[in-house]
């Protein structure tokens, strides 16, 4: 057998070698197997303790103002809602398209939706696909609007709280919102139009390699 093999020409050896690899491929398994969902439930459960998987809206506002760029902000809502209003610097990836998105696995990713529910689902999808740093914007856009865009004067607030409110007023103005000095003005809040999205997004630098260029030939 060995003699037979060594007497063959290079081309025939290669053909046999290739054929064997092809034959073995029949039983080798599914190449997408590596991408199927594997969940380490313990790790997932632990990461929810102590809210280590959440980002506060005030922290996020701070990052945006300081122009931190070490994270990807993902808006999980539909594109219509995204074009109406979104948090500056975010990109729109509706939750259905999340598994096909081109997010990198070792990026810090902050997910948000209107509330926590969709973001939590998306968080699970990404975690199970092996993404490392996935975070939920705590409370989503609802809390973002309440705390960052239209913060309310604390009723009977302590000095510390009032000082904090003064700061938040500036932050609200930065994002095109307005602080609510009258604490009972929920109706007024409805009338105030949401700031236009492109207010700050003009300063956004396009992430590397995300140009609208094709990858193909």
């Amino acid at each position: 057998m060995k003699k037979f093999f060594s007497e063959l020409s290079t081309n025939k050896k290669l053909a046999i070698f290739g054929f064997m690899l092809g034959l073995f491929a029949l039983t080798a398994g599914n190449p997408y197997g590596g991408t199927s969902i594997k969940v380490n439930e313990k790790e997932l459960a632990l990461s929810t303790v102590g809210n280590s998987d959440k980002v506060l809206v005030t922290d996020l506002a701070d990052w945006i103002i300081k122009a931190k760029a070490d994270y990807e902000l993902v808006d999980l809502r539909s594109e219509e809602k995204y074009s109406e209003y979104t948090i500056p610097n975010s990109q729109c990836i509706p939750i259905a398209q999340l598994p096909q998105s081109e997010l990198f696995r070792n990026q810090k990713i902050v997910l948000f939706s209107d509330d926590n529910i969709d973001a939590a689902k998306a968080w699970f999808i990404l975690k199970s696909k092996g993404y490392k740093g996935v975070y939920i914007l705590d409370g989503g856009l609802d809390v973002w609007k309440e705390k960052v865009l239209f913060p309310k004067t604390p009723i009977n607030g302590s000095e510390k709280e009032i000082a904090q409110f003064e700061k938040m007023k500036e932050v609200a103005t930065y994002f095109g919102g307005q602080a609510q000095t009258d604490s009972s003005s929920t109706e007024i809040k409805q009338q105030i139009s949401l700031p236009t999205t492109n207010l700050n997004s003009t300063q956004v630098t396009v992430p590397k390699g995300k140009k609208k260029k094709r990858e193909g030939c």
């Binding site: 050896k13 609208k212 260029k213 193909g216 030939c217």
Partner: protein
Amino acid sequence: MTSLTKTFTKAFEKDESHVHIEIKAKPYSNPYLVGIGLGLVLLAAFVIMGRGLGASGAVSTAVAVTVNTIAPSHASGNQFYTEYLGDGKTSPFKDWLVFEVLGVIAGGFLSGSLAHRVKKGVDKGPRVSNRTRLIYAFVGGGLMGFGAKLARGCTSGQALSGGAILNLGSWAFMMMVFAGGYAAAYFLRRQWL
């Protein structure tokens, strides 16, 4: 397996060992071994970058930039050009395919020099003049450029790279390239035979 690697290294060693003796052009290497080498380069592109090889895309960038320099408003109104011009912040030439094609030119020259195959001239069939050959080259190139854009890739981008990842469109494309080639071959036999 050891004999396999031996023949593998021999195939490439052959070219260096005779450098001093003969200046004549060396014969081309075993196509199957070259194919494996090319396949490994392609595999490296997939493993490192997650994408395949290409060629016509770089020419498209050059065309888009040229049009944009001569008639900027014309180029910006055409989606085909804007796609290659990018967002305007970075140079369109800072592109993966452009650098890859520069490498192709360097690699071709390197291999050609090692085997004494770099020679100025026109490569043509025995029965046609240089002028005819160059006209045919231009016309053929034109068709190829047009077809490659219509098919979203050329032989490297679609057939080779798409073929390896079993892309349906790439295989359909590859079969049609051979079909078109064999269909047209008869009418052009005077040029080559």
